[in-house]
């Protein structure tokens, strides 16, 4: 006897009304209009400018729209904007809003809202900060026209407005966008296809989004963040499940409809279930990394960093991360996302071919390493960092480093990696992380590849040749020139070991067979997804 039969029997005995007995939620017809989704993490806050976690970005993409949006070819296409024009000298951008745009409180989207939103965004986003640094004025010319005047040309303007890396340039009402960018907003009035149902939000458990009837989708076919965002369901419930085993069982049982990131170990079981569909989540994947501290011994020595790269087997890392499914990973002798226009392996020879432990030992000896402890920080609560950290510890020991393995959590890693103290006084030698492939497509969104010393990401590499190449990329007039600049960047970064890439890997997503329209992308796109 299954649950439905059991409940029907109970109802037949007259118990239903008395005990508050009801049919299971998934058996009710109206439920075809509700999509139950398990996100990658808890939606603990809901300000996509203040909090830059991916999960916040993913939820925000439902609630707020952007002027431009990336399509599946990573080309920015007009979204809230009708279009944009730039003056011949490249200094003045004029952006016009399309007609019919409404906020969730019913008010019309005006140019002043755009100005306030872009001002707040540009205080937090790396591309926005570059724009702000060269901004002469950002003004609303009339109700539907924004003018952005710059002191020098910025050819990547539309990419900045349409990119999907965090924080995205979401458009909010002026009164909300005027909030200090380092403080959380208090209202969640959006401009996108779904409303945030604040009174049903239970952080750590559930977030609910309801269809916004006033949203006017574009007429073009949808492609990632661009085109018509047609919602096929009335309500989307995000249900937070910290335990992957529970999420797997709930998906197989029909209690949820879509699971954003099933762990690899559970995928074979999901694939065997005829009611479940499994596919790659994001074709842009992820890049595993560990960063060595360029300021402290031993990795302030180039030879010591090169020693690590000489013996580093990306296959070891990838098998530890995603198992034996070779379709899920590939070696990455470079910094940029494979399959994207700027991908290159220039200068990545040290990571290619058979691993050379003898060379690594020789380089380590030449570095003058005298056995000082290598503080290797490994966050245990993140499966990706834990798996990488274990491989690294073994690698370092085999090369001859004296490893101080610091098992900690992600919160502590976040604090400790910011410390520049020497090892032994709270400092560190290396920590592990990973980047979404969508954030590694060009230097504008990929701050980890920068090497501008004190202003660089943790580890603080200072490699002038990398920064020169970054500047050349920003000013490149066409794709060929961009590619040439990135080849120089990759070579300089690899030869000087900005950081160590541990490989490129993909992850799965899974959904019920009665759900259709799920696409692969850097974030879950809910438009076009329906349920029967």
């Amino acid at each position: 006897m299954d649950r439905r039969t059991f409940i029907k029997a109970g109802a037949g005995l007259g118990l239903a009304g008395h005990l508050g007995l009801s049919a299971p939620a998934h058996a009710q017809g109206a439920n075809a209009r509700t999509l139950k989704f398990v996100p990658q993490a808890d939606l603990a806050n809901f300000d996509p400018i203040w909090g830059t976690q991916y999960v916040v970005r993913n939820a925000a993409a439902l609630v707020w729209d952007t002027l431009y949006g990336f399509d599946e070819h990573l080309v920015p296409k007009p979204q809230m904007a009708e279009g944009a024009s730039v003056s011949a000298d490249g200094l003045t951008w004029t952006i016009k809003l399309r007609a019919g745009l409404k906020f969730h409180d019913g008010s019309t989207v005006h140019a002043k809202d755009v100005v306030a939103s872009l001002t707040r965004w540009s205080a937090r986003d790396s591309m926005g900060q570059m724009l702000k640094a060269i901004q002469q004025e950002l003004v609303a010319v009339d109700e539907v026209t924004v003018r952005w005047v710059l002191k020098k040309p910025y050819p990547k303007m539309l990419m900045a407005l349409g990119k999907n890396s965090t924080p995205m340039a979401f458009i909010m009402p002026e009164r909300i966008a005027n909030t200090d960018p380092f403080k959380q907003i208090e209202e969640y009035i959006g401009s996108g296809p779904m409303r945030f149902v604040r009174n049903e939000w239970v952080p750590g458990s559930k977030a609910v989004f309801a269809k916004f009837e006033g949203y006017k989708p574009r007429e073009e076919a949808n492609s990632w963040l661009s085109g018509g965002k047609h919602m096929m369901v009335d309500r989307i419930e995000w249900i937070v499940m910290p335990d992957p085993g529970t999420a797997s069982a709930a998906l197989q049982n029909g209690e949820i409809d879509w699971w954003e990131n099933p762990i690899t170990d559970l995928v074979p079981q999901l694939k065997r279930n005829r009611n479940v569909r499994v596919d790659i989540a994001d074709p842009l994947g992820n890049i595993g990394t560990f960063r060595m501290n360029h300021l402290t011994t031993p990795f302030n020595s180039l030879k010591a960093r090169q020693a690590v790269l000489a013996a580093l087997s990306q296959e070891d890392y990838m098998r530890a991360l995603v198992g034996d499914d070779t379709n899920l990973w590939k070696a990455l002798p470079g910094f940029f996302t494979p399959g994207t226009p700027l991908y290159t392996e220039e200068g990545g020879d040290l990571l290619k071919g058979p691993r050379n432990l003898d060379l690594a030992k020789r380089l380590l000896a030449e570095s003058g390493y005298a056995g000082t402890p290598v503080t290797c920080i490994v966050a245990q609560d993140q499966p990706i960092t834990k798996a990488q950290g274990d491989v690294t510890a073994d690698l370092l020991k085999r090369i001859g480093f004296n490893v101080d393995y610091v098992a900690t959590d992600w919160g502590t890693t976040g604090q400790r990696r910011a410390m520049k103290n020497p090892v032994g006084q709270g400092g560190w030698s290396m920590f592990h992380s990973w980047h979404a492939g969508a954030d590694c497509i060009n230097p504008a969104v990929y701050i980890a590849c920068r090497a501008n010393g004190d202003r660089a990401w943790f580890g603080w590499p200072s490699i002038p040749a990398v920064e020169t190449a970054v500047d050349e990329w920003f000013e490149a007039p066409d794709l060929d020139a961009e590619k040439a600049a990135i080849r120089r960047l990759n070579r300089a970064g690899m030869e000087n070991v900005t950081f160590a890439p541990t490989g490129f890997f993909l992850q799965y997503q899974a959904w019920r067979a009665n759900v259709s329209g799920v696409v692969k992308g850097p974030l879950p796109f809910f438009w076009g997804v329906s349920k029967t």
Binding site: N253, W410, G411
Partner: protein, 313 residues
Amino acid sequence: MFAYIIRRVLATIPVMAVVALFVFSLLYIAPGDPAAVIAGDQATPADVERIRQSLGLDRPFLVRFGEWVWNILNGDMGVSIFTNLPVTTMIKQRIEPTLSLMVLTLILAVSIAVPMGVVAAWKHGTWIDRCVMGFAVLGFSVPVFVVGYVLAYVFALELDWLPVQGYTAFKEGLFPWLENLILPSIALGGVYIALIARITRATMLEVLQQDYVRTARAKGVGQRSILFLHALKNAAVPIVTVIGIGMALLIGGAVVTESVFAIPGLGRLTVDAILRRDYPVIQGVVLLFSFVYVLVNLLIDLLYTLFDPRIRY
């Protein structure tokens, strides 16, 4: 008695003050930085510092502690660093599932463990006794999450009798409420049942050797009356004590159980807050748990007088 209750209630104030100071100090010296978690992986050190300043985390310990204590005394537990929601609101959102889980587990555990212990003592040395003790060892040894997974696999996935996860509020109806809580309660109750059953058995064995039990038997009193009316009442004090102490077990076990069954309770709220270093939430929840634990112990002390009239306060 009334004066005693007042004295005990007043005694909770210094206890809570010590807990408050301890929790606040512990969080202050513990590593980790909520600003770094908020800022995300792509943030620059300057961004992290700006966020830290905006949250007031750069202020001296005594200033922050004084402000926090003052707010607590005014009934304000603060605002979550992450959600921007008042801590009291977050606790209100989460208290019903945890309370439901604990109450149901308590009822389940006591109603199973006490008869088990009594029967084991009565049938001392027989296969029934050995079965009960075997179960107790199993209950102690198998982790809550293993029991949880096995139950979910069998009763939810294979038999489809019960849901895998979630929580339905009591106001939605008794059956939906129970449907979501049966498996978690059994999983959480295992260790508690084992503990109570062992103590009940041990205490009953001691009581059953007493003269008055022999006298009762000699007078022809029935076995059931001897066990449950005479012996059990006299064995109740240690059993009730263990039930009270075991509340700490329940609170600890609830954290795991709520994660396995995706129940949005206080246990998960605590873990999430610790991982993010959401200080106001951690402080609020720990204070609440301490308060509940102190109250439960007071209740247990008062129950002693019910079971043993010789005890006077």
